[in-house]
Structures are given as C-alpha cells and as structure tokens.
Symmetry: C2
Subunit: 312 residues, 2 copies
C-alpha cells in the first residue's frame, strides 16, 4: 500500500508518493494557478494525483492534502485560504474522493509541516513536540503522541499570538505584544531598520537609509555570517524574544522539544543561541535540562510529507 | 460499583464515596497530621478509606488520591509535596493498594480539581477546558476530551508560569513577568498595598500604612463589594492581567472555556469582568464569540470529586 501527500501552496502544488515504510517512491511539482480560481487549482491537484498514481504499483491507500486557511473537518471544507482569490468554502475532500474513490484527508498546512517533521524529519525520534514555522506569520503545529492537537474548532497552534508583553507593539490580529509582532518577517524587518538606524557601524547602515525596501531577513543572516556584530546581536535578541514564548509553552504543556523551521529560521546559530539561552533561563527548573531546540529538517518539503501521513 | 476519591491537603484529608452515576453516597474529613510525617498521614488515609468502605454496599471499584507535589506515574510515587515535612519519594500507590487490594490512582491536586469540575462542576457540559486555581500560586489543569493533559513528564498545566511581560516583575520560579508574579496571593497583596499607598480615598489606606500584614485578598473583595472604587479598579485590572495569559492559552490551544476557582477567585464580579474584557479583546477573532470564563462550582471540594474519577 502507498500514500500520496499533497501540499497546496500559493505558487506550487508539491506532492509525494510514499510506501508503508515511509520510503519516498516519487515526487512531483506543478504550478498551483491560484490566481485562476478554485477550479483551476483543483484541476492541478487532479493532475498531480494522476501522475503519482501511475507510479504506484500497489493500490494508493489514501491521499492527504495540506493547504493554507482553515479546515472544517466535519464537512471536509477548505475555508477562505489567504492569497487564493475566489475561494470561500470549497468541499475539497468530496471533490477529490469522488474522482478517485480513495479516502482523502485534509489539514491546515502548518499542521502538515509539523506532522512531516514528526514522521520524516527532526521529530522522528520524538512523540511530542511543538513545531514552529517562522515566516510572514509565526505558525505552529502541536504534536502530542504523534497526533496533531486541533483544539475545539481546529484552530489550535496559533503560537504566534501568544503575548510576551501586554504593553508591547500592535499585532495585525488586534492584540498587543504577540510574539508575531516581533518576529513575523515584516515586524522583524521594521525592528531591524530601527536598530541599525542608530548604528553607523552596521553592515546595512547606508542601505537602510537609502534602499530599506530591498532588505530581507536573508540579508540580516548574511550580514551576521559575514561578522557584522549589529546583525548578530539583533538575531540573538530576536531569538531571546522567541525564547520567552517557548518557555511559556513548555511550562504550560510540559512539551520540552521545539522544532524551528521557516524562512526566518535560516538565520541559524545567533538566532538559535538566543532562543536556547532565553528559554533555558525562563523555563521551570524541572524542564531546564530536558529542553531541546531543534532546527527543522525538511524545509519546504515538510508539508507534503506530513500530508502523506494524514488519516494514520 | 462505587469509587472513593481522596484529597490530601496540608490541613485536612477530605474524601467522598460516589456511585457509577456520579451520585454522592458519603463524605468524610480527617486532619492530615502532615507535621507528624509520612506514616502518620498514610495512617489517616487508611482511616478515611476504612470509614467509607463500610458505607459502600457494592464493592469499591477504585480509589483515587489527589495530593500536592509531583507524581511519578510509572512508579506510583508522590514526590516532595510542599509543606509535608519528611516526605521525599513516597510509594503511595503500592502502600494503599497492598492494604486494600483495590486499584489506586494518584494525581496532582490541581489536576484533580480540574477533573472534579469536569465531571461534577462547572465543566459538566464541556469536554475540553482549562481550570485555573488562584491562590498562593496559580495552578491549572488542562482537560482535553475529559482527560488531563499531563505532558511529557507529568508537569503539564503550569499556567502560572506563562510570561505576560518579559520585562515584568521577578517570579519565585526565577523567570520574570509570569502571571503568578502579578496575581499569586503574595504578589497580589504587594501590588495592592503599592496601589493604595497613593490613594488616600481607598478604604484600606490607613490600615495599609499601619497594619498591612493583617490585610488579605478577602479584604480587597470586601472593600470592592462595599463600593470602594480603588479596590474595584484594582480587581478589574488584576483580572485584565489574567486575561492576557488566558488569551495566549486560548490562541495556542483553541480551548475556549476557562474555569476559574481558588481563594483569589472569590473576588467575584470586578475580577471576572476584567478577565473577560481583556481576554475577549486580545484573543483571535475566531474565538471572540465562543469564549467563556466560568466560575468554578465546587470550591475546595473539587479535588476529592476529581480524585474519584481517576482511572476512568
């Protein structure tokens, strides 16, 4: 028996075929055609399935789909995925099941990424962890005994909207001081520009004044790697802020492994050093030695691998 | 079949006998004799069991015990309960099972209180909620699908050590800005005295200057009930701080019901108004309407009722 995992992204649809022993048999990518509306995207999903089914000797046992937006599990609906024009409520599960007569699972993409890390990546040896994705937003999947914690309405895992300072900066969500309002990539860049404006020695001092728009989180990491002390200190401090929220989560849930992935996590060592130092200092004594902060292993592939494990 | 639930407290051991339909058949209380050491306490537990077993017509099916301190579930040990001199690791489960030949369950008291509310109190109609106990510390039990979330080492539910301001006041745990460092009863009284020192109109202005030690959280509630604006505003603000941490928990876990009990919760309406207003404003839009903040229903009886449901 084999499984197909599909990750629907704003630009591409990525998919894998894996066997029962979690070996990768085949993978494929097609453009998602999101701007052409729901039926174009769904047609692309069918094409992806078709190409993988042909490569599967034994029967495909199930198809898992990860997608941005919310999921109505009871009815198999994908609800208003951001950056997908024309989608409101789409009965994705029945549309795919009716065509292929194979059971279909549907899940939010951040949760799929966490599940992918659980079975194929940094969480392989662990049953319970929180997997963070640091990007424009700060998403997470909470895996307890290898299962996704969905919460009551399926919105569990909004780690990005935990408050680390109730008087802190405004967050897009309407709250103040959410961790996302510090380290979501837009907020991160604003804080960086503010920092280097007063640091004439900083690598990006002049570019920040003249062409701030051209700077990205990647540039901060590059500067830090090239030895820029301001960039390095900024990333360490950013990690320390993230460590505050991780300590809260560890204390609340007694989950001691945090896997960190996503674009911003590419900042690497200075960021991870900041996270670990802050989280270790802040967490209850009982967790101090067992705490682990682990880089994600699968990058952008985590979602499709996780999707393959839906319904397990 | 019947069940016995026992709550070992620093002063008293309280216990109930309930039937399969969760009817209360009998209850009893004995002093815990904590200062006389472990064997005295265990002897009192045996006495409590003896008196309830005599009242049970059918066989007692199981005995549940709630106690302060940590629990080693694998080995059935109660580990260094605070305020119990002479206890280090006590094999409570085997000591009781060997004497009575009835299966024994052991659980932390805050988790038992949450379970008690789940089956007999404010959580009766709900499968999933967080139950807070506001006292010297701020404990919680996280109930997901009517089961306690233990976490990896059994320390889940340390809601009190979630950070609401990473630059906030020092907490006994070593962290800064934990919610407990604002609303744990000692910290609460310190903040209150600081507040009324500058408020000559406050009900307790003079007593705070002369006999501050005689003031307790109960006095703040009494002043608020008697119309003291300072006390009322202080309790509202205290609730608002608690609402910050509740919003974080709701966002992280998608658990929308929070049950609040414990001595400090007796402050009632101004406190609960502050909690609800703050949490509703701060939580993600998707939770705003479904959020519920509910007073605990069982008071100090929650622990023994919850203990009766262990092993279910």
């Amino acid at each position: 028996m084999t499984r197909i995992g599909i990750d629907i992204g704003g630009t591409n649809i990525k998919a894998v075929l894996v066997d029962d022993r979690l070996n990768l048999l085949s993978r494929t990518t097609l453009p998602s055609l999101a701007s052409d509306g729901p039926s174009a995207v769904i047609e692309q999903v069918h094409r992806v399935i078709e190409s993988l089914i042909h490569k599967s000797e034994p029967t495909v046992q199930c198809i898992g789909i990860g997608a941005p937006g919310s999921v109505d599990f009871a009815r198999g609906l994908l609800l208003h995925p951001p950056n997908f024009p024309g989608w409101d409520e789409v009965p994705l599960v029945s549309l795919i099941e009716d065509r292929w007569s194979i059971p279909v699972g549907l899940e939010n993409d951040a949760n799929c990424a966490a599940l992918g890390e659980a079975y194929f990546g940094a969480g392989k040896e662990r049953n319970t962890f929180v997997a963070l994705t640091l990007g424009t937003g700060v998403g997470s999947g909470i895996i307890i005994d290898r299962k996704i914690h969905h919460g009551e309405k399926g919105f569990g895992g909004e780690f990005g909207h935990m408050t680390i300072d109730y008087n802190g900066p405004a967050c897009n969500c309407g709250n103040t001081g959410c961790i996302e309002a510090y380290i979501g990539s837009g907020y991160l860049m604003r804080r960086y520009l503010e920092t280097i404006r007063h640091s004439p020695d900083a690598f990006h001092y002049e570019r920040a004044a003249g062409a701030a728009d051209t700077l990205s989180p990647r540039d901060i990491s590059n500067a830090a790697e090239a030895g820029d002390k301001t960039a390095r200190a900024f990333l360490y401090e950013t990690g320390a802020l993230l460590g505050v929220a991780i300590a809260s989560t560890t204390n609340l849930l007694d989950i001691t492994t945090t896997i960190i992935g996503g674009g911003v996590a590419a900042a690497g060592k200075p960021l991870f050093d900041g996270v670990l130092s802050s989280a270790r200092t802040r967490v209850l004594r009982v967790h101090r030695d067992s705490m682990e902060i682990v880089p994600a292993a699968l990058g952008n592939d985590a979602g499709m691998f996780g999707a393959a494990m839906l319904g397990r």
